[in-house]
């Protein structure tokens, strides 16, 4: 994880000592530096434009559609893309375009909630375990390791009868609950090294309380890691949701997600490819774009990829 370590200064960097830290890059903070580096990465722009575009599409896509996801156009069932049904229709005459937009909406909501929530859990659990050390650390580490060996997918499958009847938010919560452990370990290790840093010691000797130290000193110093994790967490959450729904354990009809649409389209993927292809393309483009943003973020934050100083 050394590559992501925000507490290490750049590797042996001859120029680092020469660049006057106050003046050389004129910016005022590390966040600005990251933004400067991000700005010059084409990957970031490609990813960000696509992600924003998809979000806008998910919100507004149904307004311009001629059909709602629940409408059935039985006369035109199982037809390919046309001026009336842009992405074609399925076997019972539902408009694939409307369904795709509505599925994208659900998948995005689940991803955008589950990813950051998982990161939030990771941040707090990891920071407390790392900072407190001793018994609390041992218990939390044991819990993390226990959750890590549990086959998350299998458990979600087992639990699916429970949340099938409930709101999709329950599914979202379960996905978040099984996605924070590795990051929590990273944060824990980071916190352990931060705890020995002098500014944390100084705060401790001033009498600053543990929650305040974590909020004021620990979390801001791992913030860049958390942002990356939250971004890539979106990808992971959408992946999990899609896989669960594909096998019928996630989102249930009449609600649709991209996974549900893929499952429905699979049997006819060779004969009527539009039923499978359009949701699949949307999913791939979405995941690809979010990954691009996460990847660009990682490079911008990574202290070894350039002359970052913190």
């Amino acid at each position: 994880m050394a590559l992501l370590d925000p507490t290490t200064q750049g590797e042996v960097d001859l120029t680092a000592a020469l660049v006057d830290p106050g003046k050389a890059p004129r910016n005022s903070s590390r966040a600005r530096l990251i933004w400067l580096r991000l700005r010059s990465t084409p990957r970031f722009w490609v990813g960000a434009v696509i992600v924003v575009g998809m979000i806008v599409w998910a919100i507004a896509g149904l307004w311009i559609a001629k059909w709602s996801p629940l409408d059935q156009d039985l006369i035109n069932s199982s037809t390919g893309p046309s001026t009336s049904h842009w992405f074609g229709t399925d076997d019972i005459g539902q408009d694939i375009y409307a369904e795709t937009v509505s599925g994208l909406r659900k998948s995005l909501v689940i991803g955008l909630i589950a990813g950051p929530v998982g990161t939030l859990i990771a941040a707090f659990v990891g920071a407390f375990a790392g900072y407190l050390g001793g018994k609390a650390d041992a218990v939390i580490s044991w819990l993390i390791n226990f959750l890590l060996v549990l086959p998350a997918f299998f458990i979600l499958v087992l639990l699916s009868p429970v949340f099938k009847s409930l709101s999709f938010l329950v599914l979202t919560a379960f996905i978040a609950m099984f996605s924070w452990m590795i990051m929590a370990q990273v944060i824990r290790a980071q916190t352990k090294s931060l705890r020995d840093r002098e500014f944390v010691k100084a705060a401790r000797f001033m009498g600053v309380g543990t929650p305040t130290i974590i909020r004021r000193h620990i979390l801001p110093n791992v913030a860049s890691l958390l942002i990356i994790d939250a971004t890539l967490g979106v990808v992971a959450a959408i992946d999990s949701e899609t896989a669960l729904s594909y096998f019928g354990f996630g989102i249930q009809r009449p609600q649709v997600s991209l996974g549900v649409l893929l499952a429905d389209g699979t049997p006819s993927a060779t004969t009527r490819p539009w039923m499978f292809l359009f949701p699949a393309i949307v999913l791939i483009v979405l995941l690809f774009a979010v990954s691009l943003v996460g990847d660009a973020l990682r490079d911008a934050v990574d202290p070894t990829s350039g002359n970052t100083r913190d």
Binding site: L14, V19, N307
Partner: protein, 687 residues
């Protein structure tokens, strides 16, 4: 036609293109090194001293743009490919790096690493012969039991021993030039003295020329024949060591020499601060780069950068007023006058009540082995029964080498919990008896300033939040906090308009001032200063030291000043305690201890400190200690210093027996206390 010099650097420039602009690390330097000569290159961090020598070795990263020429015996080294250079490196030129741990490969034995260098350059050498030679080399550099140690891995050596191994590798092929880049910076003074001795020995054995790169003027004074001072990527003064030290011409050199605390003069005069910071090497303004910091700058200084002017006798300096300074029209004390001490009226007179009292403090850490079933396999005696006392307005200097227990001692004081054995009393209250609320309010009275001002300030907070943080604990209102922060920043000599900025916008010295301001926020009685200047560049140190002295007088503060630099302690402390392996071996009034040290360890420590005065350096008798600080886990019977003690070797067997069996306690000798049985036998010469 005379023979070309061994190394000639001609108008060497190195620049690094970067997003923020071109960083011109080295800007046209020329120097020569003759066969067998010892050249010291001095400069602060960022002055280009390391980069220029890396350029000589051809070890710069690929993005560096190098112009000019480097000639080894008249043959150009620049522009050769890596393979050709590799043949020269090691055989002709050898390099010793600052950090011997990262310079040695951890997975090979040191013997293998020495043999590798030997066999690379001498194809005819067999593995057996190389191994024999490796043992020989280790013996030369003073590694005990080399036959056994040759098969050890780098991590089994201490820092000083690793640096010896590095020297052994460097001299393995009998090079003509050894470049040593801050070879002793990471080491303790007594080890530094040993390493410099080995380096001199290596030089004598191989007849090689040595280029020693360092920031420590004292090291240069004692070892080098010639000195080159670098500033902002340029040579600003070169000459014979005696010339430059006694008659410096460039104002930067003058300031540097006057700002360094000197063991001989420290404590009697105030230090001369060299204000400001070195310029950024990207976008250098025209004119002399030292002009903004130079007290004698004239308008001509801002328009053109002065070239290195030849004075007499090979003494060159880059200053347009060099003539005036050299002829004596401008005296060094006119260039950098000594600052006035604090006026009498501004001083706070303190009742000499006890602020901190430590009695018989012990801190032992259990050493455990095993992952699942932990068992204790030994004890680390970090602090082994010490007494310390600080009175109001007093400064206690706690000195010792790394690993002696200084840090553990101050942590014990700051934790304010009941110690394992002994007691800690702060302002008359035993910390073991404090309730939680009382302990919190007691924290107001004791604050700490850390060594590394970068690590001690949270990079994500503004200066206002950092300095005001101690006040948040004690429920001070936001407006009151803001007012106090402005007041504190003024007090430590910073603009209070800087409050909204972040730590990385400040220079090292300014950051340390911020750290001091934070420590003063709660109006403490005692400041614990943990090596407050050792991470700073020499020119910055004086300003911080003066600030600490002034604050002590203005606010009536007491300091627990922890340092390994004896000159710094001599400058500021009233009393001093010398620590060795968890024990205090000598303590007393600072003038007395420094003038007449009684314990052989104190004597060795003092003689190991380099003095930035070539004449004084040459006339000194060095007391070298053997080996390294023993591990605090070792069970040593009797005096724990006997294994390294220079006095022990001179004693007769009966007296030696006493050292081996009886643990000495501090006892009063003349005006100081020392823990040595045989003070009366001591014929070692201090200083």
């Amino acid at each position: 036609m005379t023979e070309p010099p061994l190394l000639e650097v001609r108008d060497l420039s190195v620049s690094f293109p970067q997003a923020s602009g071109i960083v011109r690390a080295v800007r046209g330097i020329s120097y020569t090194v003759n066969q067998g000569e010892f050249l010291g290159i001095v400069g602060e961090s960022g002055s280009g001293k390391s980069v220029s020598s890396m350029a000589v070795m051809g070890l710069l990263p690929r993005n560096a743009v190098v112009t000019g020429d480097v000639l080894l015996r008249g043959e150009s080294l620049l522009g050769r490919d890596d393979r050709e250079l590799s043949r020269l490196r090691g055989k002709e030129i050898a390099m010793i790096f600052q950090d011997p741990l990262s310079a040695l490969t951890p997975v090979y034995t040191v013997g293998n690493q020495i043999a590798e260098g030997l066999m690379l350059h001498d194809k005819g050498l067999g593995a057996k012969a190389a191994a024999v030679r490796a043992v020989e080399l280790l013996r030369v550099v003073g590694i005990p039991a080399p036959e056994r140690r040759v098969n050890a891995f780098p991590h089994e050596f201490s820092g000083g021993m690793r640096q010896r191994v590095m020297i052994a590798i460097a001299i393995a092929n009998d090079p003509n030039l050894i470049i040593a880049d801050e070879p002793t910076t990471a080491l303790d003074v007594t080890i530094q003295a040993q390493i410099l001795e080995v380096l001199q020995k290596a030089k004598e054995l191989t007849g090689a020329a040595v280029v020693l790169i360092t920031h420590d003027l004292g090291v240069v004074a004692g070892n080098a024949d010639r000195i080159a001072v670098m500033y902002a990527g340029k040579l600003v003064e070169t000459g014979a060591v005696d010339d430059v030290f006694t008659r410096p011409v460039m104002p930067y050199t003058i300031g540097l020499l006057r700002s360094v605390p000197n063991l001989v003069t420290a404590g009697r005069t105030r230090l001369v601060p060299l204000e400001g910071r070195p310029p950024s090497l990207s976008n250098l303004p025209p004119g002399c780069p030292f002009e903004p910091r130079c007290p004698i700058a004239v308008s001509a200084c801002t328009t053109e950068e002065p070239p290195l002017l030849q004075l007499r006798g090979g003494h060159d300096a880059a200053c347009i007023r060099a003539g005036e300074i050299e002829s004596g029209v401008l005296h060094p004390s006119d260039v950098f006058p000594r600052p006035e001490p604090v006026a009498e009226g501004a001083k706070v007179v303190n009742e000499r009540e006890s602020i901190l009292s430590i009695n018989g403090l012990v801190k032992h850490f259990p050493l455990t082995a095993g992952m699942v079933f932990k068992k204790q396999i030994g004890t680390v005696k970090a602090v082994d029964g010490i007494d310390l006392e600080i009175r109001g307005g007093e400064v206690l200097g706690l000195v010792g080498e790394s690993g002696c227990g200084k840090s553990t001692t101050i942590l014990e004081v700051l934790e304010m919990t009941s110690p394992q054995v002994g007691s800690i009393t702060i302002a008359g209250r035993d910390v073991a008896e404090l309730s939680k609320a009382e302990r919190l309010s007691m924290r107001k009275d004791v604050q700490i300033v850390f060594q590394d001002p970068m690590a001690a300030l949270d990079p994500r907070l503004t200066i206002e939040d950092i300095v005001g943080e101690p006040l948040t604990v004690h429920g001070t209102s936001r407006t009151e906090r803001r007012r106090r922060v402005a007041e504190l920043l003024d007090l430590v000599g910073l603009e209070h308009t800087m409050a909204g900025r972040y730590p990385h916008e400040f220079s090292g010295g300014q950051r340390q001032r911020v750290g001091i301001a934070r420590a003063l926020a709660t109006s403490p009685k005692l400041l614990v200063l943990d090596e407050p200047v050792s991470a700073l560049d020499v020119s910055i140190q004086a300003g911080i030291m003066n600030l600490l002295e002034d604050l002590k007088l203005q606010l009536g503060l007491s300091y627990l000043f922890v340092a390994h630099d004896l000159a710094v302690v001599r400058q500021i402390a009233d009393t001093v305690a010398v620590m060795y392996l968890g024990r205090i071996v000598e303590s007393g009034e600072v003038g007395e201890v420094f003038a007449r040290p009684h314990h052989p360890y104190t004597q060795a420590l003092m003689s190991a400190v380099p003095i930035p005065d070539p004449e004084a350096e040459r006339s000194r008798v060095r007391i070298l200690l053997d080996g390294d600080l023993p591990s605090p886990t070792d069970e040593i019977s009797g005096c724990n210093f006997h294994g390294r003690c220079p006095l022990f070797k001179l004693l007769d067997p009966a007296r030696q027996q006493r050292c081996l069996t009886e643990d000495p306690h501090l006892r009063v000798i003349d005006t100081t206390s020392a823990a040595c049985h045989h003070v009366d036998q001591n014929t070692l010469q201090p200083l």
